[in-house]
Symmetry: C2
Subunit: 506 residues, 2 copies
């Protein structure tokens, strides 16, 4: 660790110099990521208190001998994450309204209950360090206005047939089915694994036996276990850039180094990945609909990715998060369907298909890893509630899941169309919206030179939910764009939100 | 790694020498644990195939320059775990009936579905190595005859009021409560955290605010996250010896070294722990009712343990697994109740109180670690099903949990008494049963010189569930004893099982 005394920014109120502990740069870590990580940690640990001013980018650039563009990019990212705010006349300051429990460590115990004296926690493990750097909980911005119009990544759980769900519970919770209250196999109950295998064959083009399916609480949990089994400290892992921040955080928590692989219209640029990090051990990908850009991974890229993984014995984690919602065509088959060399973990959640509070997902690990994966699950979380598993199995087997997905697909397609229609009328010259063909959200480019971080901040202040694309990347230059959701909002809400967006950004 | 060519045992059928890859001894690892671990790994990886013969203990002792007692102790432990069997005339052989999916890695993919070519997985991380060494899933012996009479650690889930549980589900699964289908806080829904805090105050003498409580799927999950936050590779951790094997495996999976601390009538011997591993970072303990010996940690020992943890900044993980079932007295308060220095994680499960398939538990981390713990949970598994959390909150708030626990306490007390009574009549001179004052199981000493590993094997063959105490330890000399459960079996079943035990062991 190197202690860097940052010069007092001219605008600082108290005039004193403030020391910031900037951690070591990790192997392969970019300067930008390193600075971002270090400042996050300083904020999370309270070394940079809420309300304190960061140095001007020019001064910090001179002191650290970095380009000013790097500093600005880091500040923009912190802005996008809500860690800092820009104040007219006083530059960039640590968000004074950071939730109190967001700051992690080390900190005094001020709870007072239980009679405990104050104590501190110094992170020493990769998980603890990673968490300390990011603050708690993930994601930072969900608490405030999760349901603000156009918030991305939300499904319409209020349209879920809760009456059907209640009846299925009533059918399982009977004295004649008391056996379900006992302990179940760590891998999941056979009925649900069979139902998922059939669902995968029908909906995802993946033909695997029920014995290959593992039930988990969430894709995040499957990713966590997969990464713990495969990634040793300092191993390299490919991440999509831009990509899903939750995956990035799990992989960082292993102490692994992330190689950011760019996305283009064909999906993840496999050739670039092979040139940046040819010997990576792991790749996290969203081939069916890239998160957040929405492109599908092109067929040749799929073959390249699988061939690369096979040639270097890397594992590919396929997060198949909302591919069932494809509006005008059959869903693209999962990458796993072409996985002849047995390198792919296929994981998917029922949370977006049904409702997020469900917390039931599945993973199909590579066959050679299956027993290891199940054993790891059996000593960590083991299985989710067994009755719930039985209820979901019946929901799938009875055709209710298919019916619900079809209904939601129509609903979401209409909402995507409502968004496109409103955008045509209100966003001319402001935002360029591609055609939404799938999923729950869409990324629209800012075409008039507005910065996305600033735009998202102003929209948030106006009660709107779009996020800056910058929040999905940590190292690269990105076009300015907003990620926005349409699936969870009525057509009337979408119409008025689109109009409001136009006003705010004008 | 050192490749040791073990001499062909005289009795081997094929007459060829077999090489066994014995791993490096870990820092602080005993010779016995090292040999046990290496042989387990050789069996799990298929290097020692089912049916193959192990060398005679005398020959192996000579070759490895170890005492013959060490070899015998390791063989006994493998016997207790069911990895090997003793054959009259051919010595110790790898269990020919090892479940096929028990062997972990590396192995060929023989599934054939999905068109995947065979591939292998070489463990490189501490989790993968730990899992590979132990086989899958945990615990090895549950599959075969889980419900065999006198199997330990089982509660009577068939007495759970499933009708009440169904009604509570029906009340939550209403269109007016659709909000429960949305995403919930990673820490758990406020209503359940409040209910748990009140339960802890009433039942465990621990006064903490709801904000301090974290909902998890299982104590195992809480232990996994706590250990990942606190234990860096090669750190030392105290484990009770004998102790719960599931906890041992999670801690080993961190790459940490385990210091086995002996148990006596006052519980874990803190002075011994301080002499064996004074600078340990973590201690796993079961203070209310030691698993599996059943003793409560004495008051002076509690003070010593907390003072030690505070002095070296270690964390104590208190697994409060079945303390509510205390038959003739009020439950002993949790260790956490005296945790003035904020060093204790208190974790407990509703699985044993209600039914094992529930998969809802709680943990109260040290206050200074709470935000870090919640952040780690938010990027790994996040929260269990939110409706289920609401149902459990109402089950607690309505007094149903208390009612059920009181009912079960009477039932289990009667069954403990039935066991004691039958033992008095049938086990004279064979087994010495202490008075069961709490919990679901009890450990009885074999007084006539019978070995516990052999006894458990013979009982298993006769359809009975007691386990050898040897299965709960990996390093020490242990008295020969059987761990047996009474809570899940009717008085008639207990009576006939006790009689059968006497016959089998005669």
């Amino acid at each position: 660790m190197s202690l860097v005394h940052l010069a007092t920014p001219r605008r600082a109120a108290d005039g004193r110099a403030w020391p910031v502990l900037l951690g070591e740069r990790a192997l392969g870590e970019s300067l930008q990521r390193w600075l971002h990580r270090s400042l996050r940690l300083a904020i999370a640990s309270g070394k940079l208190a809420p309300g304190s001013t960061l140095p001007a980018s020019r001064a910090l650039a001179a002191q650290l001998q970095l380009s000013r563009g790097t500093i600005t990019a880091v500040y923009d990212q912190l802005l996008a994450e809500g860690c800092v705010v820009a104040r007219r006349g006083s530059g960039t300051v640590v968000n004074p309204k950071l939730p109190d429990d967001w700051r992690v460590s080390p900190r005094r115990n001020r709870s007072g209950d239980g009679g405990e004296r104050g104590s501190t926690f110094e992170p020493r493990t990769s998980l603890a360090r990673s968490v300390a750097q990011w603050g708690t909980p993930f994601p930072l911005l969900t608490n405030a206005g999760e349901q603000a119009p156009l918030t991305p990544h939300l499904c319409d759980f209020r349209s879920f047939p809760i009456d059907v769900w209640r009846r299925l519970h009533a059918r399982q919770l009977r004295p004649s089915r008391l056996g379900l209250l006992g302990d179940a196999p760590a891998q999941g109950i056979p009925a649900l694994r069979k139902a998922i295998a059939e669902h995968l064959a029908m909906a995802r083009g993946v033909s695997v036996a029920a014995e290959r399916v593992v039930v988990v609480a969430s894709v995040q949990q499957a990713l966590d276990i997969a990464a713990r089994l495969v990634l040793a400290p300092a191993d390299l892992a490919w991440m999509e850039d831009p990509g899903y921040p939750g995956a990035r955080r799990v992989i960082e928590a292993m102490g692994a180094a992330i190689a950011d692989v760019p996305i283009d219209v064909q999906g993840i640029d496999v050739e670039q990945g092979m040139s940046i990090a040819p010997a990576a051990r792991f790749a996290y990908v969203t081939p069916s609909r890239q998160a957040p850009l929405g492109v599908a991974l092109a067929p040749q890229r799929r073959q390249r990715l699988l061939a690369w993984a096979s040639s270097v014995s890397a594992y590919v984690f396929e997060d198949d998060y909302d591919s069932e919602f494809r509006f005008n065509a059959r869903p693209v088959p999962a990458l796993k369907a072409a996985d002849a060399a047995d390198r792919v973990f296929l994981a998917g959640s029922f949370g977006k298909l049904m409702f997020p509070g469900l917390r039931l997902s599945y993973v199909v690990p590579p066959a050679a890893l299956l027993p290891t994966f199940v054993a790891a699950l059996s000593i960590t979380a083991r299985h989710p509630n067994a009755v719930l598993q039985a209820v979901l199995a019946e929901f799938i087997d009875s055709g209710e899941l298919d019916r619900h997905v079809r209904r939601m697909r129509r609903l979401y397609a209409a909402r995507a169309e409502a968004l496109a229609d409103a955008a045509r009328r209100h966003w001319q010259g402001q935002l360029a919206l591609p055609a939404a063909q799938a999923g729950l959200d869409i990324t629209a480019a800012l075409v008039d030179g507005t910065g996305d971080v600033d735009a998202a901040r102003r929209l948030r202040a106006a009660g709107l939910g779009p996020r800056a694309l910058r929040a999905y990347t940590s190292t690269r230059w990105m076009p300015c764009a907003l990620v926005m959701g349409f699936a969870a909002f009525s057509e009337a809400t979408i119409e008025s939100a689109v109009r409001k967006v136009a006003q705010v950004l004008r």
